[in-house]
C-alpha cells in the first residue's frame, strides 16, 4: 500500500477557534479516511458545526492545522485561494440555502458553469443524472419555493454533488425537516456513503449515525471527548458525559 492510500483525506490537528471571548474549539484533532463516513455528535453549542465550517474554510481558524487532500486549509486566506478547495469539499446546510430566484436545474448548474467554468451542456447532462439519483427527475424547472423541505434538501445534495467533490460536509441536514421527510433525505446520504463518497455528518439522528458511520466523534464544550466505531461508542461508552448525552437522546 502506498502512503497516499493510507494517509487520511482530512486531517485536523489541534484546531482552536474563538468567537470574541468564547472559545468554541479548544484543540480539535480528527481524521477522515478517503471514502470514510464520519459522524460528529454532541450537545448544541459544542462546536460541531464550527468543525465542518473550518474544514471548507468558511470559518478561519486561530491555530492548528487542517489538511484536506493536498490543501493546507489554514494557509488559504482569501476566497480566491479557497476556490480549488471548495471544488473538492462541498457542503449541505440545515436550511438548504438553495437560491430561491433560480430553478432546480439552474441551482445545480450555476456554480460548475460560473465558478469552475465547465461546459454548460456537460454540466446539464451531469445535473440530470444527479436529479435522477436524488429521485427528483421532472422537477428541473421548479423553483425551490415550490418544493417540500425534503425535496429542497435533496436538491441541495445534488447541487453539492454537481461540483464533483471528494468530500461532502452535511451540517444537521435533517434538523429543519418534518419527521416524515427525514428518511427520504437520509436514504440519499446512505446511497452516497455506500458508493464510497467521503462524508462528514453533524447529526442528531443517532440511529442513522450508528448505521452508516465508520467512526463517530462525540464533542462537548469544544473538545472531542470520545471517538471510535459506532458499535463501541454507542453500546459501551466510557466517558460519563457521553453516557449522559446518549441517555438523553436515545
Amino acid at each position: 500500500m502506498t502512503t497516499s492510500q493510507t494517509s487520511p483525506l482530512i486531517e485536523m490537528r489541534n484546531v482552536r477557534k474563538s468567537f470574541g471571548l468564547f472559545e468554541v474549539l479548544k484543540g480539535i484533532s480528527l481524521s477522515v479516511n478517503d471514502g470514510g463516513v464520519v459522524c460528529i455528535i454532541g450537545p448544541s453549542g459544542s462546536g460541531k458545526s464550527t468543525i465542518l465550517r473550518c474544514i471548507n474554510g468558511l470559518t478561519p481558524i486561530d491555530s492548528g492545522t487542517i489538511r484536506v487532500g493536498d490543501f493546507s486549509v489554514e494557509s488559504l486566506r482569501s476566497d480566491k485561494k479557497l476556490i480549488p478547495l471548495r471544488h473538492e469539499v462541498a457542503m449541505v446546510f440545515q436550511q438548504y440555502n438553495l437560491f430561491p430566484h433560480r430553478t432546480v436545474m439552474q441551482n445545480l448548474m450555476m456554480a460548475p458553469v460560473q465558478v469552475l467554468r465547465q461546459n454548460a451542456d456537460e454540466v446539464r447532462d451531469r445535473a440530470e443524472k444527479l436529479l435522477a439519483k436524488v429521485r427528483l427527475t421532472g422537477k428541473e424547472s421548479a423553483y425551490p419555493g415550490e418544493l417540500s423541505g425534503g425535496q429542497q434538501q435533496r436538491v441541495a445534495i445534488a447541487r453539492a454533488l454537481a461540483m464533483e467533490p471528494r468530500v461532502i460536509l452535511f451540517d444537521e441536514i435533517t434538523a429543519a425537516l418534518d419527521p416524515e421527510m427525514v428518511s427520504e433525505v437520509l436514504s440519499v446520504v446512505r446511497d452516497l456513503a455506500a458508493e464510497g463518497m467521503t462524508c462528514v455528518l453533524v447529526t442528531h439522528e443517532m440511529r442513522f449515525a450508528e448505521e452508516v458511520a465508520d467512526e463517530v466523534f462525540f464533542t462537548d464544550r469544544g473538545v472531542i471527548v470520545e471517538h471510535g466505531p459506532p458499535s463501541t461508542l454507542f453500546k459501551s461508552p466510557s466517558d460519563p458525559r457521553l453516557k449522559d448525552f446518549l441517555d438523553k437522546v436515545l
Binding site: 479557497l82 462541498a90 457542503m91 446546510f93 438553495l98 430566484h101
Partner: protein
C-alpha cells in the same frame, strides 16, 4: 376592481376636480376667461417656447432633468452603495460619511452650492465646455438622490439572508460574483418600489432648480406672469400643481402595485 385601480381613478379624477374648484373659487365669474389664458399659454409652460419651436425648457426640462439626474444618481448610488458594504472598513466608513453628508443636505442648499461652486465653464482636453444652469441643476439634484439610492441599495442587499452568501461561498463563488449572480437578482425587486419613490421625490424636487436660473416650468411661469399680471399668478401655479400631479401620481400608484406584488412573492 383592485384597490390600486380604484385609488388611481379616484385620484386622477378627484384631484383635478378639487384644483378646478380652487381655481373657480379664486376667479369666480372670470374662471372661463382664465382657463382660456391657461390653455393659450400651455405650449410655453410645457416647452418654454410659445410656438413649440424648441423643446429645451418648461415642463419638458423638468422631466428631462429628473431622468438625467436619476441616471447619474443610479450609477453614483450603486458605486457608493458597494462602498457601504465593502469588506475594508476604511472604504465602508468613508462611504458612510459621504452618504450621510449628501443625504442629509437640503436639496435647495445643494443647488445653491452648485451654482457657486461649479465654474462657469471647464476645460476638457483643450475644449471649453460651458456648465449651463441645466447641467448644474442636474448635478445638484443627483447628489442627494445618489446618497438615497446608496442607502436603498445597502438595505436591499442586507435584506437577503446571510445564509445565501454562505452557501454561495461554499460553492466557490467570490464576493463580487455572489453580489452579481446571487444577491442582486434577489434584492433588486425589493429595491424597485423605493427607487420609484425616490424618483418621484426627485421629479417634484426639479421645481427647485428655478434658483439656478435653469429654464424649467417655474421660470417659464414667472416670465408669463410678468406679462399677464400678478392677478393671474394663482391660476398659473394651480395649473402647475396639476401638471406635476399628473406626472407623479401614476408613479406613486405603480409603486404601490409593485410593493403588493413583491409582498406576495415569498422569498
Amino acid at each position: 376592481m383592485n384597490s390600486e385601480l380604484r385609488t388611481f381613478l379616484l385620484g386622477i379624477v378627484g384631484v383635478p376636480l378639487c384644483l378646478l374648484g380652487l381655481f373657480a373659487a379664486v376667479y369666480g365669474d372670470n374662471t372661463g376667461a382664465m382657463l382660456g389664458l391657461m390653455a393659450e399659454r400651455t405650449p410655453t409652460l410645457l416647452t418654454g417656447s410659445p410656438d413649440i419651436t424648441s423643446l429645451d425648457g418648461g415642463f419638458l426640462a423638468n422631466i428631462a432633468m429628473s431622468i438625467i439626474a436619476m441616471a447619474i444618481a443610479a450609477v453614483g448610488g450603486v458605486i457608493l452603495g458597494v462602498g457601504l458594504i465593502a469588506e475594508f472598513s476604511i472604504v465602508r466608513h468613508v462611504s458612510d460619511v459621504v452618504m450621510n453628508v449628501l443625504r442629509n443636505s437640503p436639496w435647495l442648499v445643494v443647488l445653491y452650492a452648485m451654482l457657486y461652486l461649479l465654474p462657469f465653464e471647464v476645460e476638457i482636453f483643450g475644449v471649453y465646455v460651458t456648465i449651463s444652469p441645466f447641467i448644474k441643476s442636474v448635478i445638484g439634484l443627483s447628489l442627494p438622490v445618489a446618497a438615497n439610492i446608496a442607502e436603498i441599495f445597502r438595505g436591499g442587499i442586507q435584506a437577503i439572508p446571510s445564509a445565501q452568501w454562505e452557501s454561495a461561498r461554499s460553492l466557490g463563488y467570490r464576493r463580487l460574483q455572489i453580489l452579481r449572480h446571487i444577491i442582486l437578482p434577489q434584492a433588486l425587486p425589493l429595491m424597485i418600489p423605493n427607487l420609484m419613490t425616490i424618483y418621484a421625490m426627485l421629479f417634484i424636487g426639479t421645481s427647485l432648480v428655478v434658483v439656478t436660473g435653469a429654464s424649467d416650468i417655474l421660470s417659464a411661469a414667472k416670465v408669463i406672469i410678468a406679462t399677464t399680471g400678478s392677478e393671474t399668478a394663482s391660476g398659473f401655479y394651480i395649473y402647475i400643481l396639476f401638471l406635476f400631479f399628473l406626472f407623479a401620481f401614476p408613479i406613486a400608484i405603480l409603486t404601490r402595485c409593485l410593493e403588493r406584488r413583491i409582498g406576495s412573492v415569498s422569498l
